[in-house]
Assembly symmetry: C2
Homo-oligomer: 364 residues x 2
């Protein structure tokens, strides 16, 4: 039987707490005969504290060798002052770049039972099911020059560069259209073609891929600022949204916040398929951050992290039955009213991080 | 008595309709002895159709000579295919750049009577009063290189460049802190210092200006993606938000959408004060766009445009009593239930664009 190699990178803040719950789930599947091999390593501020870098070379090697990386969260005020090159986020950005994880899938789902937790009106978000496809290895995150220079008169100039190449836009567009075909068959492509050349270019390439390869999918182009507005006004108009790295960062956070379930939302970052092995590199992480304010107190909701493992079952290992089983267990636990504080309804008794993991294992 | 020179640039879509209502208000003040001189010119798609450019040199000269520019809206599907350099938005961008209008003030106010029009829960937005201060002449909108190049292998590369200089961040920070002092004394500065060098730089300069000149104002730094989230989750935590050109574009649109009153929100774009005359260049425009879908049908809400004239009375002409009088007239008309369709409550009879202008004049 195949063994699936998992690298666990819990990171900082609530990362380790929520990862511990995933380990319970992995343990349960292992006992039932699914072959998982896990290793754990440091990333982010905790890696900086240990090695002076946001991820060590040894951890990078392990990530390259793993079938999937499970990532917790990085960052916190403790490291706000560290040099730019070794700040916690650099570990995550290096993983994305070096593993070639260009496609970031961020589902934003509003669970009916949690619709009241949203700041939006119930009717606006109930049943919401959007998939944001964010380009993750290009754009302003990685373009050069990226620098702060001191000029002759002593003043300074800071520069970032947004760069996109044809193949980068082509491949992310294909991911979006492919996903849409399995969903409601609609793609909204967001950019600022009215002020950015990368926006003009993005629109051109997406239009061409659509015309040549996916003309049966509905495509609309939307300005990124308008997309943000429409997400707030009437989010159910969207099915799949495809956008660049920076707009994707913001738009996916808005979409996540609409659902009232930030602690519930998983994400997958996928590389290209290796033509020889049919495998692709992958990293799975919750949409929420490291939440330093509640770290270490057993309050964090581990469902986004556990759901990220569920995405790994589905996208990396093809274990669809196991993924369904896990999703169902999560849904039953939620329905039974066993919830952490962030999603507990009025009159419900909030439980701790570990209770959720235990309840899901029991449900399995 | 002083004469105030106004240049009216109605633009495209609903721009001309809403500008017509402002002209009624200007006319009323003129009859009461306030010296206004108005000229009108083309901008955007309508200027392209007439001159092949999004704004003519003659119109630019008039804008330079005016005490204030009133701007409607530009763009529409009709011009989606025109060359990048002469697209409708280029007219607006040139006005901003050539007049040096670096400070864009976008208030987001939720009128209690309209709180139910928001997609957010009433308690989340009722009484909301945020001021977004957006840098308007720098960043990725204007940085070079900005190009699409074809490479040797036939593929293409698109580039945009985000650039900020010390003085650009300093002056917009000062505008934000000055405004906060007259409000609730809090500034939230939004950037992505965790991935962008311009974000690192922005944070450094804002921190220095705060420490040296405004240490009595409360300052917080917030990541732009988190700011977008927080605007949706709990917007009343903000007072003044200061941010760069691109983040400001998106964050101000989110803030505007929260209020449920997009057709109500004015904005001001201001230049530096001329030390000799004490005057500053200024352009006033509604936050909403050209809304081609409802253009020409008398449905548009002219209040954002009329409110923009109100901001001109206040910021450009120092006519504070007149501005208060206009604000009160707008409030009475709203309270009386005379509203356009976008903000009419259930059971209310929606009126047309011209009815609102007439009602405000009557109220004055
Ligand atoms: C932690 C940070 C570098 C990251 C990003 O900006 O991409 C985060 O906000 C995200 O969305 O995954
Ligand atoms: C019309 C467009 C160029 C403009 C911008 O992106 O600045 C608009 O969205 C705005 O916010 O004023």
């Amino acid at each position: 039987m195949a063994t699936h190699k998992l690298l666990l990178l819990p990171g900082d803040g609530i990362g380790p707490e929520v990862m511990r719950e995933v380990e319970k789930i992995v343990g349960w599947f292992r006992k039932r005969g699914v072959g998982f091999e896990t290793e754990t390593d440091l990333v982010g501020g905790s890696a900086y504290d240990a090695h002076g870098a946001a991820i060590s070379e040894a951890a990078m090697d392990r990530a390259q060798a793993a079938d999937a990386v499970l990532f917790g969260a990085v960052g916190g005020p403790k490291w706000d002052g560290v040099p730019y090159a070794v700040r916690p986020e650099a570990g995550l950005l290096r993983l994305r770049k070096d593993l070639g994880l260009f496609a970031n899938l961020r589902p934003a789902i509003c669970y009916p039972a949690l619709a009241d937790a949203s700041s939006l009106k119930r009717e606006v978000v109930e049943g919401l099911d959007i998939m944001i496809v964010r380009e993750l290895t290009g754009g302003v995150y990685f373009g050069e020059p990226k620098e702060i220079v001191t000029l002759e008169d002593g003043s300074q100039r800071a520069v970032d560069t947004q760069v996109y190449h044809t193949h980068e836009v082509e491949r992310i567009a294909r991911v979006a259209f492919d996903l849409a075909k399995k969903r409601r068959n609609k793609v909204s492509s967001a950019e600022k073609f009215n002020v950015m050349k990368t926006g003009v270019f993005w629109r051109q390439v997406v239009t061409r891929i659509h015309k040549n390869e996916f003309s049966d999918v509905q495509l609309e182009h939307v300005l990124a600022d308008n997309c943000a507005m429409q997400l707030v006004r009437y989010p159910k108009q969207f099915d799949v949204i495809v956008t660049d790295n920076l707009f994707g960062d913001i738009l996916s956070d808005i979409a996540a916040m609409l659902t009232g379930s930030l602690g519930m939302l998983p994400s997958a970052s996928l590389g290209a398929e290796d033509p020889a092995t049919g495998k692709r590199k992958a990293l799975y992480e919750p949409v929420h951050g490291s939440a330093p304010d509640i770290a270490g107190r057993g309050l964090a909701n581990p469902i986004a992290m556990i759901g990220s493992f569920g995405m790994a079952l589905r996208y990396s290992f093809g274990l669809l039955d196991e993924a369904d089983r896990l999703d169902k267990a999560i849904a039953s636990v939620l329905a039974s009213g066993t919830r952490t504080k962030d999603i507990a309804g009025p009159g419900m008794n909030a439980v701790g991080t570990a209770d959720i993991g235990d309840a899901i294992v029991k449900e399995l």
